[in-house]
């Protein structure tokens, strides 16, 4: 009986200590933020955690610039927030990782501040497709990382790895697939075009797009989940509730490494290649610090670190990287990827969105 109060006291002390500890940990960030700091937007969740642990502290050590990382939602949603904040002259983040579609949409409104390639040491080592420019050649975004969307499956439900996207259309996949719900992030038009129509050229005309959509419509009975939220599908894939679908190669690899019965396969038609740029919004007052950040992030060592720790594919030329062949193969593939027709999502975005919604809802 007499020990009870001391137990309470101990717990309180522990709480107090924990609180004090947390405060001490938080303090340096606050102090550093007063001199040089930068708000960096990266995709929330595992991605951001990984940057917070492996990348940002090293950057602060090397440059003295404190990083306040901001969890950004999926590219399009973040673009809307940046646009609106930009109109009010506010920058929710100085520099953000932006997907290709969002980058291109931002070009239309001159949302991105032009970057000076001369201040980015490894600019020439970045593979050209990963950098986004304005029509007049000004650099709007510098390649950050690349990732693949691949065919993923639950190894318990499917002991044999599938080898083609065409497997989605098989009758035995009824109610078994999880696919991305938006036309501009699922890239299923490109997948269908490459798998059944010999390439993405058919998407150049409206008639061609509708033909591809007809083929996609055959898929509908097989789709159990059209997901907007990654966590929703990841959970279902791990448990086998939805045993097949399209998902990110990097995160699936990490889940498999953690012992979940999942695998990511590059089908023979190729995985979908997509990538992110570092871009600075026009509302940011810290272009110089942001350029320092981008310069730091484009070093070959950092690209290697990202590939090993985050599982993203590098955007730098293969010969400047210090990755072994095995490490490189883990984040990429020799099979020629399906490259999204980004132009469509800017020029025809409303029409595509309308047809797509009618396709999956109707």
């Amino acid at each position: 009986m007499t020990r009870k109060p001391s137990l309470v006291l101990n717990r309180r002390q522990a709480l107090l200590a924990a609180g004090a500890g947390a405060a001490t940990l938080a303090m340096p960030t606050v102090l550093r933020a007063q001199d040089k700091s930068l708000k960096v937007g990266v995709y929330g969740g595992y991605f951001k955690d990984s940057f917070d642990t492996n990348i940002f502290p090293e950057f602060t050590k090397a440059t003295g610039i404190a990083v306040e990382s901001v969890a950004e939602p999926t590219g399009e949603a973040w673009l809307v927030q940046l646009e609106q904040a930009g109109r009010a002259g506010v920058a929710p983040a100085d520099v953000s990782m932006m997907s290709q579609v969002a980058m291109r949409k931002g070009l239309q409104t001159e949302l991105w501040q032009p970057l000076d390639p001369a201040k980015i040491g490894n600019f020439d080592a970045i593979l050209p497709p990963f950098t986004v420019k304005y029509d007049d050649g000004r650099v709007a975004g510098v390649g950050a990382v690349a990732w693949y969307i691949t065919l993923v499956s639950n190894t318990d439900a499917f002991p044999e790895a599938p080898d083609s996207w065409a497997t989605f259309w098989d009758a035995d996949k009824k109610d078994k697939l999880g696919l991305l719900a938006l036309v501009s992030n699922s890239f299923l038009l490109e997948v269908t075009a490459k798998t059944f129509f010999g390439g993405t050229d058919i998407l150049s005309t409206d008639d061609g797009i509708l033909k591809v959509m007809d083929k996609l419509a055959e898929l509908k009975p097989n789709v159990q989940l059209w997901y907007r939220d990654e966590a929703q599908f990841e959970q279902a894939l791990k448990s086998g509730e939805i045993p097949m679908g399209q998902y990110y190669h990097d995160v699936t690899g990490l889940a498999a490494a953690d012992g979940f019965p999942v695998r990511s396969t590059f089908p023979k038609e190729g995985g979908i290649s997509d990538s992110g740029c570092w871009a600075v919004t026009k509302a940011s007052q810290k272009l110089n610090l942001a350029t320092t950040f981008i310069d730091y992030m484009t070093q070959p060592e950092i690209a290697g670190l990202l590939a090993r720790k985050v599982g993203t594919a590098p955007v730098l030329k293969r010969d400047v990287l210090d990755l072994t062949d095995k490490e490189f193969a883990a984040v990429s593939s020799e099979i020629e990827p399906i490259v999204p027709r980004y132009d469509l999502y800017v020029e025809k975005s409303d029409w595509l969105n309308q047809k797509w919604t009618e396709l999956i809802v109707g």
């Binding site: 999926t74 399009e76 949603a77 673009l79 809307v80 646009e83 291109r104 949409k105 239309q108 409104t109 109610d175 719900a181 938006l182 501009s184 159990q224 989940l225 059209w226 907007r228 929703q232 279902a236 448990s239 086998g240 509730e241 800017v346 020029e347 975005s349 409303d350 969105n353 309308q354 919604t357 009618e358 999956i360 809802v361 109707g362």
Partner: protein, 284 residues
């Protein structure tokens, strides 16, 4: 509710604060939304303040009419289910001694602290093939193998009723607990069965509370956009889901605003109709 209107100065002053709040946080944003719904969309970009009716024209199609009808129908169904379960439940609850009422009320209100996301994920697990209720039925021999019950229309309905149910109790409870017990006692003395007394005496005398509950749950359900996504198939997506898509993912604010105006207008019309209906019956 039927207190005589106060016309003195202090009464007016007391009204000023809520009026300002209403203007600042409802009238102005709603006005902005209506304005934006007439702006022209810049594809791939944002919008410019050039007046156009294109956004409304785009909405006027069978495709969106279907979705609007489905959204309204679903909300009405959620309201109806909440009332059907809620009214007898609250009636029985209000007959209990006060001490036993409290835990029930606390449990009901606790549901309000759950976010839509948690409710959605919980129901999708509960109705899943791998971890859901059907496994229980298999274990006790009622089913041959586990089945996925989510996504489906039933799953959406269950989730939304679960979420809205506490609100219906919240509106019904005061009315039921104020109800004079002698009403039903009189009915019973005159020979009515408990069920008959409930429908012929209790329900008519509480019509206003029931109509109010229906409207509140209806409007609440009309705004749901997460549960239909988490628990339904695309054909169960409500207009709110499509508005979210346009506003959040397509950055098409003008079209999202136009759709929202339609949604608000149709819910206002339905609310007016139901109050008129409730009011007329009252007057008889």
């Amino acid at each position: 509710m039927s207190a005589p209107a106060r016309t003195n100065a202090s009464g007016q002053a007391a009204l000023a604060f809520p009026a300002v709040m209403l203007a600042a946080f409802f009238v102005v944003p709603f006005g902005l939304m209506i304005a934006v719904s007439f702006f022209s969309r810049e594809q791939g970009g944002f919008y410019t303040p050039v007046l156009t009716t294109a956004n409304y024209q785009r909405f006027l199609s069978w495709f969106f009419a279907d979705i609007l009808l489905f959204s309204v129908g679903l909300s009405a169904l959620v309201s109806a289910v909440c009332l059907t379960i809620g009214a007898p439940f609250t009636y029985l609850l209000s007959r209990l001694p006060r001490r036993s009422q409290v835990p029930w009320l606390v449990a009901m209100m606790a549901v309000l602290s759950l976010s839509e996301v948690i409710i959605g994920f919980a129901w999708s697990t509960l109705l899943s093939r791998t971890a859901g209720l059907s496994n229980l039925f298999v274990a006790i021999g009622l089913m041959d193998g586990p089945e996925a019950w989510s996504p489906s229309f039933t799953a959406v309905l269950c989730g939304m009723v679960y979420q809205a149910f506490p609100y219906s109790i919240l509106v019904l409870y005061p009315a039921f607990s104020r109800l004079d017990p002698s009403l039903s006692e009189a009915a019973r003395t005159l020979g009515a069965s408990p069920v008959r007394a409930f429908f012929n005496v209790i329900v008519p005398s509480l019509r206003n509370a029931l109509v109010a509950t229906f409207i509140i749950v209806f409007v609440f359900a009309l705004g749901a956009y997460l549960l239909p996504q988490l628990l339904g198939r695309p054909q169960h997506w409500t207009l709110s889901v499509l508005i979210t898509d346009q506003a959040v993912y397509q950055s098409n604010m003008p079209f999202a605003a136009a759709m929202a105006v339609f949604l608000v207008a149709s819910s206002l019309i339905l609310v007016l109709l139901s109050t008129m209906f409730g009011g007329r019956r009252e007057a008889k």
